[in-house]
């Protein structure tokens, strides 16, 4: 894809109504992350990152443009990337084969963090339907669990999901691993003390404030459950 044909819709500035200062502030927040200097060293424009990128094949997405826009400190282009591109990244890190040592996938992570912290609408849209996953990871310390495998959520995985759903309890009992057997609401059995330590980590690191930006109702529910657990133990 040539520069001339790449993303013609992106040729004009589409966020002219957003103050330069706002864009600059978001950019500076990304740039001030301690990991930023480890993720960006400049760009040869060789395109190796694009050739390896799965998202570049199916979306109007380019890790090269991300590296270039950030290296040039082009805050207009940066803002467009934050608003339109970052949630298309597959986070596979195929792009780290960059001969300059750039990590465009890592830069995307930093931009996503800033987008979430500021409660940008695009971040909330990208995470629609994701709240049940956040609920699980924050409370159980597991991303997924057997009881999340429901036909309504995974119809494209075929009749297997329906069959699993019907037999979940018995199938889970029929696993010989002690920590997995008969556990359906988490991936494995976790100590209460372990979970309390996890909750302490979420509170102490400001992680719960991040959740509040994504889903205030979920935040309140999680805080109530976690605080109750921590207080009961203390």
């Amino acid at each position: 894809m040539s520069v001339a044909t790449w993303s013609p819709t992106k040729a004009s500035q589409r966020y002219a109504d957003v103050a330069e200062e706002t864009k600059r502030q978001l950019f500076e927040e990304v740039k001030s992350d301690p990991r930023y200097p480890d993720f960006l060293y400049g760009c040869y424009e060789c395109g190796i990152c694009v050739s390896a990128c799965p998202s570049a094949r199916f979306y109007d997405f380019s890790p090269r443009v991300i590296a270039q826009a950030l290296a040039r400190e082009d805050v207009d282009r940066f803002y467009e990337i934050v608003m339109e591109d970052i949630w298309n990244c597959a986070q596979c890190f195929s792009c780290v084969r960059c001969p300059r040592g750039n990590n465009p996938g890592g830069l995307v992570t930093l931009m996503r963090e800033v987008a979430v912290r500021h409660g940008l609408e695009q971040a909330q849209q990208a995470l629609q339907g994701y709240s049940r996953v956040i609920y699980k990871i924050m409370l159980k310390g597991n991303q997924v669990s057997p009881d999340m495998l429901q036909p309504d959520f995974f119809p494209d995985w075929g009749p297997w999901v329906r069959e699993f759903s019907r037999n979940m309890t018995a199938w889970r009992k029929a696993i010989p691993v002690d920590t997995l057997r008969n556990v359906t609401d988490a991936a494995w059995r976790t100590d209460d003390k372990t979970l309390r330590e996890l909750y302490t980590i979420w509170f102490e690191t400001g992680n719960m404030e991040v959740i509040r930006e994504v889903d205030e109702g979920l935040y309140e529910l999680l805080v109530e459950i976690m605080e109750e657990e921590l207080e009961a133990a203390s």
Binding site: W87, Q91, C92, G129, I134, I137, G158, W160, W188, V210
Partner: protein
């Protein structure tokens, strides 16, 4: 044939060149040396790899110690939650070799899947989740063996951040103090597929299922060998040292023909967020860039990989594609499942193949395994559980291989 443009002849020619990197010329410093310096300054504890271990060569020609015994199994939420035969096979192999291991309940997932999917966390929180798990392992005296490729890649990246940023270390230490835990980092971060790799000849010695008529394609997991690439195992005898040797070396040791395909470097399409809430991308990529290319160029009996997301994506994406008459139908297994199957593990009590979506029956039939008989055995287990005659399967039920020499 597919329209993919990478010329296979040129690939084969380049593959014939053997790469033997000189560690003295490594483009990046050895992080382990920096870890030991931090330990000498009293900043952290480095948990040493216990003996016995096997030394392997990594991408830049350095040596990595892979422990054999005294393992703390850092489980994967995606494996345990959705493909439990993956975990069961790892532990079954441990038990067959009499390995002293711990399957802990004092463990959370790395939470990296969520972080890569949603960014609803931050660097310090992610570091603390890792360090809490490492401290939990250290307290038991067992050495962490990381089951998930994403946990492995994520932890390697976090370890770099911890070593290179004093401010992050200080924040982590302050909160660990509150938890009453020491700041511990293992000498090596070891993926379970590296353990399988160094055990491959012992697995082959106890092989009871002949696999010489099987052709497989390998999907190397991105978060295993792309993130902090220098930690992955490379071997001049496998792909001329140009690709990671894990998985492929096991399959070759078992007599399986490993067939090449042009998009081996591509990711599976998992996407972290995409697999959960935007699977049109995941399905398209998995089918068009992986499964169909394998089908067209190698027509394998199975695809073998070594990470949670890759097994999930490549396996579960094929149903919808089949409905659209795409060229799919390649069963997907983890290397641990293949190793266990070779040693005669039960296809359902151990491999738990009923959790897989793509049809695995033709593969078992080609291997001469009477899957109907073993499914009937498993159905009897289920019936006994449902009748309340037994609370569930135990290792005693699953230990015995279906075949013996």
């Amino acid at each position: 044939m597919s329209e993919h443009v990478i010329p296979l002849a040129e690939l084969r020619e380049r593959k014939a060149q053997v790469v033997r990197p000189n560690p003295e010329e490594a483009p990046r410093p050895d992080l382990r040396e920096e870890l030991f310096e931090l330990e000498a300054r009293g900043e952290l504890i480095v948990q040493r790899v216990p003996e016995p271990y096997v030394e392997v060569t990594t991408k830049f020609g350095r040596t990595k110690k892979v422990p054999i015994d005294h393992l703390w199994h850092h489980k994967s939420c995606g494996q345990c939650g959705h493909i439990p035969g993956y975990t069961t096979s790892i532990l079954w192999l441990n038990r067959q070799f009499g390995i002293d291991y711990l399957d802990p309940t004092d463990q959370t997932s790395c939470t990296g899947w969520n972080y890569y999917a949603s960014a609803t966390s931050n660097a310090v929180a992610q570091l603390l989740v890792m360090c809490r798990n490492f401290a939990a392992a250290y307290e038991t005296g067992y050495y962490p063996l990381i089951h998930c490729g994403t946990s492995y890649g994520h932890y390697k990246e976090l370890r770099e951040q911890l070593v290179h940023h004093k401010d992050l270390r200080d924040q982590v230490r302050r909160i660990l103090d509150k938890l009453g835990k020491p700041l511990v980092v293992p000498e090596e971060i070891v993926h379970y597929s590296e353990w399988v790799h160094v055990m491959r000849h012992r697995i082959a010695e106890r092989q009871v299922i002949d696999m010489r008529n099987i052709t497989a394609c390998v999907h190397p997991a991105c978060h295993y060998y792309k993130i902090v690439a220098e930690d992955a195992i490379y071997d001049p005898d496998i792909y001329g040292g140009q690709r990671t040797a894990t998985v492929t070396a096991l399959l070759q040791a078992l007599g399986i023909t490993v067939a090449d395909y042009s998009t081996w470097f591509d990711c599976c399409g998992f996407g972290f967020r995409h697999i959960l809430v935007q699977r049109d991308f995941t399905r398209s990529f998995a089918v068009l860039r992986k499964i169909e290319v394998m089908k067209d160029e190698a027509n394998p009996d199975m695809t073998v990989t070594h990470d949670t997301g890759c097994v999930t994506t490549l396996d579960k994406s094929q149903f919808a594609a089949k409905a659209h008459q795409r060229r799919v139908g390649v069963p997907v297994l983890a290397d641990s499942q293949v190793g266990a199957l070779a040693m005669g593990a039960h296809p359902f009590r151990v491999l738990q193949l009923h959790w897989h979506s793509t049809d695995w029956r033709p593969l078992l039939e080609k291997l001469g395994i009477d899957w109907q008989r073993h499914w009937a055995e498993f159905e009897e287990d289920l019936a006994a559980i449902e009748r309340g005659e037994k609370p569930g399967l135990t290792w005693e039920d699953a230990e015995q291989p279906i075949l013996t020499r």
